[in-house]
Amino acid sequence: MAEFSELIKNFNKIRDFMRDFYIYGFKSRDDFSIKSARTYDNEKRRCESYLGQSMKWSYTGVGNKVSFVSADCGKLSTNPLFSAWKSKSFTKNDIMLHFYILDAVRETDKSAEELTEEITQKSETLFDLQTVRGKCNEYTTAGILMRTKKGKAFRYALAQNPIALDEEILNAVKFFQSGVLGVVGDYILDSVSAENDLFTFKHQYIAHTLEDGVLYDILTAIREQKNISFSLIGTKNGAATEKQVFPVKILCSHSSGRRFLCGYSRLHRFTVYRLDAVKAVKILEAAESPQEILHSFNRNIGKLWGVSFDAKDRNQAFSLTLHIDEGREQHIINRILKESRGGTLERIRENTFLFTKDVFDSVEASPWIKTFIGRIISIEGHEYLKHRLQSDICRMAALYQIEGAADGEVPT
């Protein structure tokens, strides 16, 4: 049996497990039936090792042990899931060459031949020229070494930092490490042994970092205006479907925590894919007419409520009449204005306001509308939306045994 290692070769191996432990938190060993029991044991052990105190466990009613990750993100200074990104395995040659090369070029530049001789001597381990040159070139691409040509030979020196990581810049890094590709900011802090001691983050979805790998590739393709292919993993059955699109935007919902890739497909349609279901992104050839696609996207975004371009009956306007006590509830009016997504709010009579918005798919607004339960006088719009709302309110009244509630049926 192979010896257990804390480190892994492939990030995807830990991505799904960590997400399940963090988001769901109720799954026992038996619920991970899609993987083998031994895989489960190993990945759980790794998660425990990376996450330390954040990983907890309890027993279910039937005695199964459940492992889960839980944390009040508003109190965290750094994302505990970043540790998964720091678990890449390496060989003996990798780590030896890393430290011996960086030491050898700290004062002066050297050729691969000089480095091979010096490292072999110092480390008392035989390294061949090809291996040392390969590592030097890898580090040149990574930006750690600088390569210059003198005569016929390449020489390698330690790259100079273009900027000094002073207090002001590090403060910015401490803040932005909670944002897009934040793990890179964490790498920078690690490199100078600094930690975020100044900021906390509310409404933070730390599991987003598990998507940073695919996000990085998608952002590269967006920048280079290239098509991509990827595997889309079914959230229910785990089956993979191959997709090919021109990536247009990353659509985010800060209230639901979901992020989506919006792509323009070969069927000439904008389609969205959950970012947490995207795997194995490959950057392909340059897209055809990317500017036209972007113009078309920009023409459409005004009618997005969430992410849906796909309602059967497009151009669904809805309006919501709300009771708001003008004297005492200005904060509700303020809330609607800041959450309006381009909709309009109009005072139609004393303490009564009308919110109106044109959207592709009004059902997407249903959760937001329900946050106004207790104030909704009426709703106009697509029949399905009206019925869904009335039905939900009736069912809730029955669920909470509100006096006068029927059995949850919508009155006709």
Partner: protein, 326 residues
């Protein structure tokens, strides 16, 4: 992906660099173990120490009871291409002006000239970020932000003038940290203030956008960083919200993701096919939680605590009256 997931940034390389830097002056085995325990994963010591201390990598040599680095100086890894491209991307974010003045930003632009930014803020589109976010281009806001950041860094009390739209006040606060919400697009100052009656420290949260002036306080400092840290780390003593989640409309996945940022515990009852989630929360978040739970409609049911449950019922009762349902 490969650029992001690399051993160069890995925990083991970081731990080894720290051990070697410390061992330039000599380290005992216990000191090396201490560094590995403090900076590594839980099992790192078991996997790393034999190779690090032994002769396999030849990184250290032993003299007496001390281990010394075989290298000539401290390891300071230069910024990688990936890190530079991430820093270049930050320069396009309006919030960078809170940290750096125009001169510094120009210098950075020049230093990172030719570096391709890892992303562009325009690559992202938020459907629901609040539209009344803080005014990052306001000179007063920027000045206040920097004063408060410095106060948090140096643990210094400040006199804050505050205008909440109804009343104006001026108080001495003991800054702890700046809290940011991407959803609200707002910064808030987490700080403490001495209760005038009890003379005990109590938590306070101020919206930066409502702060009209920040001045250094002449008062001798009384709240230590440890006291502030303790105050803000205290567990919430109010009972958790207990919610049953059904499988209808993918509610389990949607609910657990949406509330993932809270400390919570979830159980599954296979006989009823119902999930029960306990959410531990700060009382200041109660109203927000209430409306977010309402947004799930009948796919979830609040079981308690009683006061929270009553608020749900009150809103439903009002709603039934308004729509004259059923």
């Amino acid at each position: 992906m490969s650029a992001l997931f690399s051993e160069i940034y890995g925990c083991y390389y970081g731990v080894v660099a720290r051990v070697l830097n410390r061992a330039l002056q000599g380290s005992t085995k216990a000191e090396i173990e201490e560094t590995v325990q403090a900076c590594g994963f839980s099992e790192t010591a078991f996997h790393l120490l034999p190779q690090l201390i032994g002769s396999e990598w030849n990184f250290l040599h032993k003299r007496g009871e001390q281990y010394y680095s075989n290298f000539s100086g401290v390891f300071n890894r230069p910024l990688t291409t990936l890190e530079r491209s991430w820093l270049a991307a930050l320069l396009k974010d309006p919030r960078i002006h809170l940290f750096l003045d125009e001169v510094k930003i120009k210098e950075l632009h020049a230093a990172l000239c030719g570096v391709v930014p890892a992303f562009n803020p325009d690559d992202f589109l938020s459907s629901d970020k609040h539209l009344d976010g803080d005014a990052y281009d306001n000179p007063l806001y920027r000045a206040n932000f920097r004063k408060l950041l410095a106060a948090c860094t140096h643990n210094a009390p400040v006199a804050v003038s505050y205008d909440n739209g109804k009343t104006r006040s001026r108080n001495i606060y003991y800054p702890y940290k700046l809290s940011y919400s991407e959803y609200n697009d707002k910064f808030r100052l987490q700080c403490a203030v001495y209760d005038k009656k009890t003379q005990r420290l109590k938590k306070a949260v101020l919206n930066l956008a409502k702060i009209t002036a920040v001045e250094p306080s002449e008062l001798p400092f009384r709240a230590t960083k440890e006291a502030l840290c303790k105050l803000f780390s205290e567990p919430n003593d109010n009972p958790p919200i207990v919610i049953e989640i059904t499988t209808e409309r993918n509610a389990v996945e949607r609910f657990l993701l949406q509330f993932a940022s809270f400390d919570r515990k979830t159980e599954y009852d296979p006989e009823r096919n119902i999930y029960t989630c306990h959410i531990f929360y700060d009382m200041s978040d109660e109203t927000e939680l209430l409306i977010r739970i309402l947004s799930f409609g009948p796919t979830v049911k609040v079981l308690g605590p009683q006061s929270f449950l009553q608020q749900i019922k009150d809103r439903l009762k009002k709603q039934m009256d308004l729509m004259r349902l059923p």
